[in-house]
């Protein structure tokens, strides 16, 4: 990692800002490499190309929250027209695994089977039918008779961990469950100093409990996988995934076939946001293909996506802080009781980020973090943009507002007094890494003070407290400060391969998966900048386990920071080879030569284009292919920082909440593609506003979701979205490619606590539960009288 710091040609070495105008391709916003074809409707998503003779899979889902399957009678279904394959717990082998697409061995419990003889939530798998058409499969499913022994359902985390609660995972096969008999998927604690001593030494100790609910990633393209056997009898899987390499590995495990027999192709992806970091729909069509020899397709409906895919872990946070009268933090503690639903996918690592990403934003001599994540008979938690941090910031950022209110200090001043900054060490980084002990982190770039300055100005912070408090519609202003990480330190690894073509263009092959984030463009920009070529000269391909090198995948805000650095290294290698080839042609020393503008120049004025050099090396002179590859991993995890501000209007009669204005100022280091970085920020705020206000899971008394459609699970539309301003605050991160840090996850941490803070300013009622619905406002105001 240290070599990256020194090898970076843009690093001024003294912490001052580099000259941005030295960039030719990065820190600019060219057309995205894939945008036009997508606008033309030509982007090839998983479902846009179907093999001949393909079967369609449909699933019979559990109608019960918790039940044992006594018997499954498929005799009638087998005789139905078009039916080719039926899969259930009596004919599929029991291979415990996790659906969480993480590095090996996954830090999530292996508590899932393809089909179990138990169902653990309404929407769990019971039986799959593959038929000639979806209609045939659905007709067959309607005839399947399943006898269930219904078990008591656990619908709250409190019930899950209560003594004597029925055990949700009692089978012997699963491994990695922390305390199955207590329904605990995982437990985790970490501390720095002694919080009790810190509380004792404080002028004010404040303790509050916060609850934040379910939400779903809701990519507009639902989960889909299409499988077939190629001419060599290898299983090919085209799938909407963020993690093609993890998908291949986990699929090999589940299907009990070698990795070598599987090829996973990631085509265009219609959004992921974490839910496609799950190996969720590959296994069933793959089993069908292996059994029938025919291609198979499984595509979730929107209802299935909402109920049976993955969600954000609902969490209950008990926050406690000790502060001095002047606002200085003495101790900060967070206790989490998370709900993982029926399976433990990502439970440990998500909850570790709840503490690990949120607590260190404020410096305290004493921290404590104590987390338990319980199983319930409800939909399953998973990876979701922010990955635990939104839950953590929900607690931390409302608590900061509550402390400011108690002490009579301006909320901004309180934050400025305590927040982490450039040169500070993150004391929790070692105690609380990704699911366990981590690596030391020092903040090398931090634009948070500038973010706050810009945000307070843009929102008109000075108007806070001056609004009329008598009318039907009351206004208020709030703010939050945020951070995230850039990749998982010591875990995430990416690699890239580059080769030079006859005309000086280059093929860039990466395992990094563009899921709509723009990484194909951003990685191409990085390669082009390093090589001294234009963006159009890079032909990028991502990702295919047969063709591209490994990448852990698109998650943990890692692609620009980790994959970008691997691309930069590979590009530097190719550039060295280009120069060396030119030196050989000219019989001079390589260090006399300069490569830029797609040509190598000699001090005497001679020049060879990259195309000239490539043709020479391919056909004439010391024949070889100019190509290089590189891998990158990092023990550093530089946080991006942000400050969000908003103005709301609350109708005190109806409870309706209108977000009038929103400002998100973010420090993501050098933005490789500023328009894309703004887009990530705007999209993250939109998603966060839904989480704050409209997106919720309504269950009936039996644990069935009542609002599983886009008509009733409300994600923000263009009409709901406030006017918003995304401001990029430039800093230079010395460990990142061309100074870059991550940007994609941090924005979603803001809206949920921010809305609580702004609504408190508007009507003086503090909400410690999200989402905040109009009815909650109405009820709270009536109770207040």
């Amino acid at each position: 990692m240290a070599d990256e710091t020194t090898a970076n040609p843009w690093d001024t070495g003294d912490g001052s800002m580099p000259e941005y105008d030295r960039f030719n391709v990065v820190n600019k916003s060219p057309r995205r490499v894939d945008a036009l074809k997508l606008a033309l409707g030509k982007g090839t998503f998983t479902d846009d190309e179907v093999p001949a003779g393909m079967l369609h899979v449909k699933m019979l889902w559990s109608p019960h929250a918790h039940a044992r399957i006594v018997s499954i009678d498929t005799s009638e279904a087998e005789k139905m027209p078009g039916v080719q394959c039926i899969l259930h717990c009596n004919n599929v082998s029991r291979v415990p695994h996790t659906t969480a697409g993480q590095g090996f061995p996954e830090p999530s419990p292996w508590d899932a089977l393809c089909f179990d003889d138990k169902v653990r939530f309404v929407g769990d798998r019971v039986c799959a039918v593959a038929a000639e058409t979806e209609a045939d499969a659905l007709r067959a499913i309607a005839t399947i008779k399943v006898e269930y022994e219904v078990l008591p359902a656990i619908l709250t985390v409190e019930d899950a961990v209560a003594p004597g609660a029925v055990q949700i995972h009692e089978h012997p096969e699963p491994t990695g469950i922390s305390k199955p008999e207590q329904n605990l998927a995982c437990t985790l604690d970490a501390s720095v100093g002694d919080v009790e001593a810190g509380f004792a030494a404080s002028d004010l100790v404040i303790e509050r409990t916060y609850r934040i609910g379910y939400a779903q990633q809701s990519p507009i393209e639902p989960h889909i996988a299409i499988t077939w056997l190629d001419e060599d009898d290898r299983l090919t899987v085209r799938v909407a995934t963020q993690v093609p390499f993890h998908s291949r590995r986990i699929l090999a495990q589940v299907l009990e076939i070698p990795v070598a027999r599987i090829r996973v192709i990631k085509p265009r992806i219609g959004g992921g946001f974490g839910v496609k970091q799950e190996v969720l729909v590959e296994d069933v069509p793959a089993l069908v293909t292996l059994r029938t020899g025919r291609p198979a397709r499984w595509c979730l409906t929107r209802e299935e996506e909402l109920v049976s895919a993955r969600t954000r872990h609902p969490s209950k946070l008990t926050m406690k802080a000790g502060v001095m009268k002047d606002g200085t933090l003495q101790a900060l503690s967070m206790e989490v009781l998370g709900n993982s639903g029926a399976y433990g996918a990502h439970a440990l690592t998500v909850v570790s980020c709840t503490g690990g990403k949120a607590l260190p934003l404020y410096k305290a001599p004493n921290y404590r973090f104590d987390a338990r994540v319980a199983y319930t008979n409800l939909p399953v938690g998973g990876a979701f943009r922010g990955y635990g941090a939104p839950q953590g910031f929900y607690g931390v950022e409302i608590l900061m507002d509550e402390i400011a209110h108690e002490l009579g200090i301006d909320p901004i001043a309180l934050r400025e007094k305590n927040m982490i900054g450039s040169g500070d060490d993150n004391p929790l980084a070692v105690a609380l890494g990704e699911g366990g002990e981590g690596f030391p982190q020092r903040i090398r770039s931090c634009g948070l003070p500038e973010c706050i300055t810009i945000g307070r100005e843009a929102i008109g912070w000075e108007r806070r407290g001056s609004f009329d408090k008598t009318g039907t519609k009351r206004r208020g202003i709030g703010m939050v400060a945020l951070m995230q990480g850039s990749g998982i330190p010591g875990v995430d690894m990416a690699s890239a391969f580059l080769k030079l073509n006859d005309d000086g263009s280059l093929n860039l092959l990466v395992g990094a998966t563009d899921i709509g984030t723009g990484s194909d463009t951003i990685l191409s920009q990085i390669a082009a900048e390093e090589l001294g070529v234009q963006l159009e000269d890079i032909i990028i391909y991502s990702a295919d386990t047969d063709l591209t090198p490994f990448d852990t995948g698109a998650y943990a805000s890692s692609t620009t920071y980790i994959s970008g650095q691997s691309v930069k290294k590979a590009a530097a290698g190719v550039k060295r080879q280009i120069i060396a080839a030119a030196a050989e042609i000219w019989k001079c020393e390589a260090d006399e030569l300069v490569a830029a503008d797609k040509a190598v120049r000699h001090p005497d004025g001679r020049a060879l284009s990259y195309g000239d050099i490539c043709r020479s090396t391919l056909y004439h002179h010391n024949q070889h292919q100019i190509m290089d590859h590189a891998s990158h991993m990092s023990y550093e995890c530089p946080p991006p920082f942000a400050a969000h501000f908003c103005e709301v209007e609350v109708d005190v009669e109806t409870g309706e909440i209108k977000v009038l204005d929103y400002v998100a100022a973010v420090d993501c280091g050098v933005a490789i593609h500023p328009t894309a970085a703004e887009g990530q920020t705007e999209g993250g705020v939109q998603m966060g506003l839904g989480y704050a206000l409209t997106e919720r899971y309504c269950f009936d008394e039996k644990g069935a979701m009542q609002n599983a459609s886009f008509a009733d699970y409300k994600i923000f539309s263009a009409l709901d979205m406030p006017d918003m301003k995304a401001v990029l605050v430039p800093t230079y991160e010395p460990t990142g490619p061309f100074g870059a840090k991550s940007v994609s996850e941090i924005p979603i941490n803001g809206p949920a606590p921010l809305l609580s803070n702004a609504i408190f300013d508007a009507i003086g009622v503090r909400f410690r539960e999200a989402p905040i619905t109009p009815e909650m406002i109405w009820r709270a105001l009536r109770e207040r009288g």
């Binding site: 606008a39 209609a135 709509g516």
Partner: protein, 159 residues
């Protein structure tokens, strides 16, 4: 099976389809894959096409209902050789992220600009209200509508 006869992207077609098939499926199974399936309940707009010039959700329209009518899909709006200015505007405004909702939004913008050559930001919001996007926050999509309108007006003014 019933016979579906219509004009699709200016060409007459005659296809045999099941009576209960929705137009999204009919179009996609005939190679018009730019029309996307996102919700199949008329809520997300990824499947939008023009039916006799007005925007409809093809996922809640039986193909049979559209028989005898004029249908334009995203493929009929522009292609790689001649992209429509709206498509160019979505690209230039940075409104395309994952791109799954983009064809529907382009169709909606096309319908909007046909009725209203100079839409306000609010008009644009209403036009895109039925097009759920989970990537962009709509900011740059609304910019794209405005940019498309400006360019169209400038092109007309220059002609």
């Amino acid at each position: 099976m019933i016979q579906f006869e219509a004009t699709v992207n200016g060409r007459p077609v005659r296809w045999d389809i099941p009576a209960g098939e929705f137009l999204t499926e009919t179009l996609r199974s005939h190679g018009l894959i730019g029309t996307k399936r996102g919700c199949e309940s008329g809520d997300c707009g990824a499947c939008a096409v023009l039916l006799d010039g007005v925007e409809v959700n093809s996922c809640v329209l039986l193909a049979a209902q559209a028989s005898g009518h004029d249908i334009v899909t995203i493929e009929g709006i522009g292609d790689a050789r001649a992209p429509h200015p709206i498509q160019e505007a979505f690209v230039d405004a940075g409104a395309v992220q994952c791109g799954f909702c983009t064809p529907g939004m382009v169709v909606a913008t096309h319908a909007l600009l046909a009725d209203n050559a100079a839409p306000t930001r609010d008009d644009a919001r209403h036009a895109l209200a039925g097009h759920l996007c989970r990537c962009t926050g709509y900011v740059k999509c609304l910019d794209a509508v405005e940019l498309a309108a400006e360019r169209t007006a400038a092109a007309k003014g220059g002609a």
